[in-house]
């Protein structure tokens, strides 16, 4: 079905371009046409696209991220409205079946025939399946399309073991996916090492060790002879060339790809002896009106490129040529950087050292699985290299290929502490160095911009595989001012140190002694006030300041939510979230919540944090509501604070048949221990009773997963806008060890993080990352642990419920009125209208006669 069609009378007269294949390169070709104004809407060309797959082009390179939670829609490469905007006619699920070059027509499976003036083949490749007996049995798969992944996922539900045939780039990616699906995973590679194309023997060995240590079984140097099946016809194993056999329920073939050139062969276009439609530098096939681009093409340098970047270049070239300009694709380099199963692997330039007289500079550390090799020419130029286990330097080294390195090469491969590595900043690169190889963007082009979003928007750099983003960040102007805001020249962690060491307990004093000259004596601002308020609060017991956030000057520093101990809603009312530790609650307490909500007419909702939120309270109602809640044994849930939110739990060992520890008890203990702890950003946690992870602990700042012998502690997880799975910090901890480690971790985070920096971003930012944090909090490398534990002990001892405290203080309670001069008058602007048997804010009365209420989206977050 055509996604868009223009009236035939307008389009039929236009020259027609038919594109066969809407994969990554096909889509890029369409974008290139649009850039050059070759579209139906521009009245210059009719463009028909035949797409075999049931969905439009998607990011095949990121295919595996489907298993990490990206939906097929997230993977789409086509901007919404793109086809319509340009009048491109896209036919999904309708492949081209035959070509008639004489008549210049393409016939699709639907029977429809399209006449073309120019034909572009972008059919990609198909996975090669070795012709072994049993290869078509139920349980055999390939790994190329979203549909393949859906099928594997479905089949894996009933499988325990999986085997991947092929230990190359894609094979390892597939193996990682099988492992992620919970299968016992094997990799069978015919060559003597993994990733034979990209890395050399040394690199392969480093990779092997790391991959085996992850629990995958690797068989190198053996071929697959047969896939064996059970009585039901489904796969039950493989027999290997060394005479051994391997029991497996599922097989994924990933033994390389072959160009899809059948259409071209059938109509007599020239193809290479080993496949691939032969094209010239203009990407034209042996028929001048037919072009071939991407993985189906055999380029003029005699290569079939199985990478997306060269395909994109071909797409640009073909579009340019079709637009009547000069362009040529003469070849591309095969540099790649990947993260396979969490291991960085990169190779660039002449990685195998084939140039005459070249020398290798190698560093290998099998213990840590790091292997680095640089290939240096006779004249000292860098020719290429292989990096396994630590590919940090890829971004700077690859663009230096072909130049003489500014430092001795061994300094670049040695680890820190052994004379290297020398930080070779990207500033040393020449302007013409290609930084983003996916989109062929040079340093010069990037440096014309000042922010990453701008670079991405204007040059597309960084929007492909993403491996260049870090270097781009280093090329952009760095703000040298690390100050939190216009008032202080210090970062949050510096302010923390100042407050801690000097024992400052007053914001005004801090501003006057450590603020920027112009800000001293002033009123500060809405950024540093809450930040300093939070620092003073988290250190309060230690500094001897009041632990009560509404005391004295501290009250003036808090954001409105902390100031009223509730969350401000869009109409000026507040929401109330009592703490429900671990999500466990008695029926009596549930009834109290129900009664309070009913009596005050509050809207109730179960939150995503395993507790209950009541919305729509006026300021003056807050103390009345909390009096009832505190009487019933509730306390503040700190939903308003940059502090501990919830520690979610699963039901755990007590009830669940799989549970191996009491996750609920641990969650409650932790929530009570860290409640009220003010931190740079909110803190979330969860405890799961077994590896099934029903509490989603790995999405939390600190997450705990039970093991048969104790607890595993994960840190740095995040849901929200940029999800990140937490990393394992330590394993099989006892209860006491776990608590001690969390104490240290949290206090170290609070001490060193920036304002509004979640643990996830903090962990990625701080130098040395997770390893450094582990050194500090587990191995006590900085000798800080005693102090960190003491700070936490102070917090735990000093904790008091903010609401109970407020209710006991008539002075504070006076603040909870709408109008200072009419304490009994309710706020007339806080009104509600009914919806689904409850209420919602009446926004119309806020809109007033003139103003359409703006939505809360696009809020200025400071």
């Amino acid at each position: 079905m055509p996604v868009s069609t223009l009236p035939t009378d307008r389009t039929s007269a236009l020259p027609t371009i038919v594109v066969v294949g809407h994969g990554m390169v096909g889509q890029r070709f369409l974008e290139a046409l649009a850039d050059r104004g070759l579209t139906a809407t521009a009245g210059t060309a009719r463009v028909v696209v035949l797409c075999e797959e049931p969905r439009a082009a998607y990011d095949r390179v990121q295919l595996t991220s489907y298993f990490a939670g990206r939906s097929p829609d997230d993977l789409s490469l086509v901007e919404p409205g793109f086809m319509q905007r340009h009048g491109f006619e896209l036919h999904l699920g309708d492949p081209a079946e035959s070509l008639d070059r004489e008549a210049r027509t393409v016939t699709a499976r639907s029977g429809e025939t399209y006449a073309y003036d120019t034909l572009v083949l972008a059919t990609g490749s198909y996975p090669f399946v070795p012709p072994v007996p049993g290869k078509d049995a139920e349980g055999c798969f390939v790994y190329r399309t979203i549909e393949d992944l859906l099928a594997i996922e479905e089949y894996a539900r009933t499988a325990r073991t999986g085997a991947v045939v092929g230990g190359g780039l894609l094979g390892l990616e597939a193996a990682g996916a099988l492992k992620g699906l919970g299968l016992d995973t094997h990799v069978v590679e015919f060559a003597p090492r993994l990733m034979p194309v990209q890395v050399d023997d040394g690199g392969g060995a480093a990779l092997l060790r790391t991959i085996e240590s992850m629990g995958l079984t690797v068989h190198t140097g053996v071929g697959t002879q047969e896939v064996t099946t059970g009585e039901d016809g489904a796969v039950n194993g493989m027999s290997l060339s060394d005479g051994s056999s391997l029991a497996t329920d599922l097989v994924v073939f990933s033994a390389g790809v072959r160009p899809r050139d059948q259409l071209a062969r059938d109509c007599g276009l020239a193809v290479g002896p080993r496949g691939g439609v032969i094209v010239d530098e203009e990407c034209r096939t042996s028929d001048p009106s037919v072009f071939a681009i991407g993985e189906c093409a055999l380029a003029s340098d005699g290569r079939v490129y199985g990478l997306v970047a060269p395909g994109y270049e071909m797409a640009q070239t073909a579009a340019e040529v079709i637009a009547g300009k000069d362009a040529a694709f003469t070849g591309a380099d095969l540099s790649t950087k990947l993260k396979l199963l969490g291991v960085d692997v990169a190779s660039f330039g002449d990685a195998h050292g084939t140039a005459e007289g070249c020398l290798d500079v190698v560093y290998a550390d099998s213990r840590s699985g790091v292997y680095k090799k640089l290939v240096i020419g006779q004249d000292g130029t860098l020719l290429g290299g292989v990096l396994v286990g630590d590919a940090e330097q890829y971004g700077t080294l690859r663009p230096m290929t072909g130049t003489v390195l500014p430092v001795a090469p061994e300094q670049l491969v040695l680890p820190a502490g052994a004379g290297g590595p020398v930080a070779l900043g990207p500033s040393t690169l020449p302007d013409e160095a290609v930084i983003c190889s996916c989109h062929n963007v040079t340093k010069g082009a990037i440096c014309a911009h000042t922010t990453l979003p701008e670079v991405k928007k204007c040059t597309k750099a960084g929007t492909g595989c993403g491996s260049c983003v870090k270097v781009i960040g280093q090329l952009l102007p760095q703000s040298t001012d690390k100050g939190v805001c216009g008032c202080f020249p210090y970062s949050r962690s510096e302010l923390y140190e100042i407050v801690r060491t000097l024992g400052v307990t007053s914001y005004a004093q801090l501003l006057d002694s450590h603020g920027r000259e112009a800000a001293r004596g002033g009123d500060g601002c809405e950024i540093c006030k809450p930040a300093v308020g939070s620092i003073i609060a988290s250190l309060a017991p230690t500094l001897g300041a009041s632990g009560y956030v509404l005391d004295g000057e501290q009250a003036a520093l808090q954001d409105t939510n902390d100031h009223f101990l509730a969350n401000l809603q869009r109409n000026g009312s507040y929401s109330i979230v009592p703490r429900i530790p671990g999500g466990e609650i008695t029926p009596e307490k549930l009834i109290v919540i129900g009664e309070v909500a009913r009596d005050f007419g509050l809207y109730t909702k179960i939150t995503g944090g395993q507790r209950i939120d009541m919305f729509g309270a006026r300021v003056d109602q807050l103390p009345l509501i909390w009096t009832r809640l505190v009487d019933a044994g509730f306390e503040s849930g700190h939903a308003y604070g940059k502090s501990l939110r919830t520690v979610k739990s699963c039901v755990g060992q007590t009830w669940c048949r799989y549970g191996v520890q009491d996750s609920v008890k641990m969650a409650i203990d932790l929530e009570l221990r860290y409640r009220g702890l003010r931190s740079p950003h909110k803190l979330k946690s969860a405890v799961s009773g077994c590896a099934r992870e029903c509490a989603e602990a790995r999405g939390k700042d600190f997450g705990i997963i039970a093991t048969a012998s104790g607890w595993n502690l994960y840190v740095g997880g995040n849901g929200g806008a940029t999800p990140r799975h937490a990393d394992l910090l330590a394993q099989d901890l006892s209860d006491a060890e776990l608590v001690r480690l969390i104490d240290r971790f949290l206090m170290f985070y609070i001490r060193t993080a920036d304002r509004l920096e979640r643990t996830s971003t903090w962990l990625d930012r701080i130098e040395g990352g997770l390893d450094h944090v582990r050194d500090v909090v587990v191995h006590d490398s900085l000798g800080l642990c005693d102090e960190l534990e003491r700070l936490m002990a102070d917090h735990v001892a000093g904790y008091r419920d903010e609401w109970a405290e407020t209710l006991n203080d008539p002075d504070r309670l006076r603040r909870f009125v709408t109008f200072v001069n009419a304490p009994d008058a309710p706020d007339p602007s806080v009104r509600f209208v009914p919806e689904r048997d409850q209420v919602r804010p009446d926004l119309e009365i806020l809109a007033g006669p003139v103003l359409a209420v703006r939505t809360l989206e696009g809020s200025v977050s400071r």
Partner: protein, 118 residues
């Protein structure tokens, strides 16, 4: 008048210009420096009153023009180049307390009220 002046010395009060008359709102001591309170005028309008660090008092309309909510009194007070402002507690746009002009959007401003301590 003398009587009021005496009272002033101990417990100064805040007054807002309301049409032709000065309307007494509350004692100055009810304002925490750096924070605001809302007051209800006889005609039903809402005013946000603030005291800065130097206890200088300002009054602006309580309605946040960006959301329509009557909440500006609950924002945080700051100063920029010596000029006092309040940041809306909802979407954080800043308003100059002396002029009512929004510092983050030239096209928006809120009404300013004359205020005095007696």
């Amino acid at each position: 008048m003398t009587a009021t002046t005496v009272a002033t010395a101990q417990h100064p009060s805040l007054q807002l210009a309301c049409g032709e008359v000065w309307f007494t709102v509350c004692e100055l001591s009810l304002l925490t420096p750096g924070r605001g309170v809302a007051a209800l005028l006889p005609d039903g309008r809402q005013v946000a009153l603030f005291a800065d660090r130097a206890r200088q008092v300002y009054a602006i309309d309580n309605r946040d023009p960006f959301t329509g909510a009557y909440v500006l009194s609950r924002g945080l007070v700051g100063s920029d180049g010596g000029r006092p402002f309040v940041a809306s507690p909802l979407l954080k746009q800043r308003f100059d307390l002396a002029t009512g002009v929004c510092l983050d959007d030239d096209e928006v401003s809120v009404q300013v009220f004359a205020v005095r301590t007696v």
